[in-house]
C-alpha cells in the first residue's frame, strides 16, 4: 500500500496531525489516504501509550515538593527541583495550591523556583565582537553567549593565569542597556565538588573569576529579581 498522493505530506506532517497541529490540507489527505491513515494510527498509539506511561515521571512527589517549599530540601536536590518546577506547569500549580493552603501561616519567602531561570545549553552563538567595549579580553571565537529572559551573558577566557590554572571573564547585559543595573551583584562559579568561587559584577556589567582549576562548573548570577544559572561551563 502506498500513499495516494506521494509527496503531498511528509512524515513530520503526520506527526503534526497526531498532535492536533496540522493544517486542514494534511487532515483532508490523511482521511482519504489509507497508507497515511495507517501511519498516523501507529504514531498516535505510540504517543498516547507513552504519554500515559511516562506522565509526570520526573515530577517530585507531592510530599517532597512540599518539603522543598518548606525549605527542608537542600543541596543538589533543591536545585534539581527548582529547575523542574521552573518548567513544569503542574508542579507549579501544586506549589501554588500548597501556598494557598498554608496561607494562614506566615507568608513563605520566594522559593528558588520563583527565582531560578535556568539557562541550559542556551548558547546563542560564538561572539566575534561584543557590542560594548567592556569585555576584558577573550579573542574572537573563544567566547560564548547565553540568553536568560532579557539578559545576555557572554563568557570567555580571562587573562593568562598561573600554570595549570584558568580564569573566566564574563559580561552581563540587559536588554534595557543600562550598564550598571547588575553592579554589585554576585557571580558564583560552582564546581561539582569543593568550594564555590565568588566575585562581584562591576558597574559595567563585567566580572572576572580568576585563578581556578580547570574543570566543568556551574555559573550562578545572583541578580536582584532572579538567579540565572548557566550549567556546564567548561574551563581549560
Amino acid at each position: 500500500m502506498s500513499c495516494i498522493r506521494p509527496g503531498l505530506v511528509s512524515t513530520d506532517d503526520l506527526v503534526a496531525y497526531v498532535v492536533g497541529e496540522a493544517p486542514a490540507a494534511v487532515a483532508d489527505h490523511v482521511r482519504s489516504c489509507p497508507r497515511c491513515s495507517a501511519e498516523v494510527l501507529t504514531y498516535a498509539r505510540a504517543d498516547r501509550r507513552l504519554r500515559r506511561a511516562m506522565n509526570r515521571i520526573k515530577c517530585p512527589s507531592a510530599h517532597r515538593l512540599g518539603e522543598y517549599e518548606l525549605g527542608l530540601v537542600l543541596g543538589d536536590e533543591r536545585w534539581a527541583i527548582a529547575g523542574h518546577v521552573a518548567e513544569c506547569q503542574r508542579c507549579t500549580a501544586e506549589l501554588r495550591l500548597l501556598r494557598g493552603f498554608i496561607g494562614d501561616e506566615p507568608a513563605p519567602a520566594p522559593s528558588l523556583a520563583d527565582r531560578a531561570r535556568r539557562v541550559i545549553s542556551a548558547i546563542l552563538m560564538p561572539t566575534p565582537k561584543l557590542a560594548l567595549g567592556t569585555f576584558r579580553g577573550a579573542s574572537a571565537g573563544e567566547t560564548r553567549s547565553f540568553r536568560a529572559g532579557d539578559v545576555t551573558i557572554t563568557l570567555g577566557p580571562g587573562p593568562a593565569a598561573r600554570r595549570r590554572r584558568v580564569s573566566l571573564d564574563g559580561l552581563v547585559v540587559g536588554d534595557q542597556g543600562d550598564p550598571d543595573q547588575f553592579a554589585g551583584r554576585e557571580a558564583r562559579l560552582v564546581p561539582a565538588t569543593g568550594t564555590s568561587v565568588v566575585t562581584v559584577i562591576d558597574d559595567l556589567g563585567s566580572f572576572l573569576v580568576d585563578d581556578v582549576a580547570p574543570g566543568v562548573y556551574r555559573l550562578e548570577l545572583d541578580l536582584a529579581d532572579r538567579l540565572i544559572v548557566v550549567d556546564d561551563v567548561s574551563l581549560g
Partner: protein, 225 residues
C-alpha cells in the same frame, strides 16, 4: 518549667489548653505540645503519639475538609486523616527532629502531610490529557483506551531509563521529556526551547525520529505497539 519531667496526662492537658489559644490566635506557650511531639517522635512513645493524635485530630480534620482539592478526592475524611498521621510519623524520625525547632515548624509539616495525602489521591486519579489523540484514534477505528494500562512506579522508571538509553541525542531526549513527562504540545516545546528547535517543524522531526527509534527498540516496542 521542666516539661521533660512532667507526666504525659499533665502535658496533654496543658497542650490542649495552649492549642485552643493558638487556634484563637492568642499568645500561647508551645513547650507542652512540643514535648509531646518530641516524646512521640524521638522516644517512640506510643502513649505520647496517641495523645498527639487526640489533641490534633480536630485541627487536622479541619485542614482535610477545607483543602482546596478535597472535593476532587473520593476517599473519606477518616482515611485521609489516618494517612496524614501515618505519613507524618514515617517522614519525621528522631534523626530529622532537629529540623523542627519550634511547634510552628511541626504544625506546618503536619499541614503539609494533610496536603500531600490529598494530592497523592488527586495525582492517582489524574487523567493524562490525551483526549485529542483518543478522538483521533476513535476516528481511525480504534477502540478508545482499549490497550492502555497503568505502569507501576518502578516499571515506569525502568522504562524511562530504557527510553533515554535508546534516544540518539539531546534534541530527542529534550522533546521526549517535554512531550511525555510534562505533556507539552510541540508548539509549546518550540517556545520553551527555541535555540534547540528554531521552528516547530524541528520539534515534529525530533519527535518523529524519537518515536521511530523507540518503536524499533525491542525492549520498548511492546509499550508502544
Amino acid at each position: 518549667m521542666d516539661v521533660q519531667g512532667m507526666a504525659l496526662a499533665g502535658l496533654a492537658d496543658r497542650c490542649r489548653q495552649e492549642t485552643q489559644k493558638y487556634r484563637r490566635r492568642e499568645a500561647f506557650r508551645e513547650e507542652f505540645c512540643y514535648e509531646i511531639f518530641r516524646r512521640a517522635i524521638c522516644d517512640r512513645d506510643g502513649d505520647a503519639w496517641s495523645a498527639l493524635v487526640e489533641t490534633y485530630a480536630g485541627l487536622t480534620r479541619g485542614w482535610i475538609i477545607r483543602h482546596p482539592a478535597r472535593a476532587t478526592v473520593r476517599e473519606d475524611d477518616d482515611y485521609l486523616l489516618n494517612g496524614l498521621f501515618e505519613r507524618f510519623l514515617r517522614a519525621i524520625g528522631p534523626e530529622r527532629f532537629v529540623q523542627f525547632p519550634t511547634l510552628a515548624n511541626l504544625l506546618n509539616y503536619l499541614k503539609l502531610c494533610a496536603h500531600s495525602v490529598i494530592l497523592d489521591e488527586v495525582r492517582r486519579h489524574e487523567q493524562t490529557p490525551v483526549e485529542s489523540v483518543d478522538r483521533l484514534l476513535e476516528e481511525l477505528g480504534e477502540e478508545p483506551g482499549a490497550e492502555s494500562r497503568e505502569l507501576a512506579n518502578v516499571e515506569a522508571r525502568d522504562l524511562w531509563d530504557k527510553i533515554n538509553q535508546v534516544l540518539a541525542d539531546e534534541a530527542e531526549r529534550r522533546v521526549i521529556y517535554l512531550r511525555l513527562a510534562l505533556g507539552l504540545a510541540p508548539r509549546e516545546v518550540q517556545r520553551r526551547d527555541p535555540t534547540r528547535f528554531p521552528t516547530v517543524g524541528d520539534v515534529y522531526r525530533a519527535y518523529r525520529n524519537a518515536l521511530d527509534r523507540l518503536r524499533r527498540a525491542p525492549e520498548i516496542r511492546r509499550f508502544v505497539e
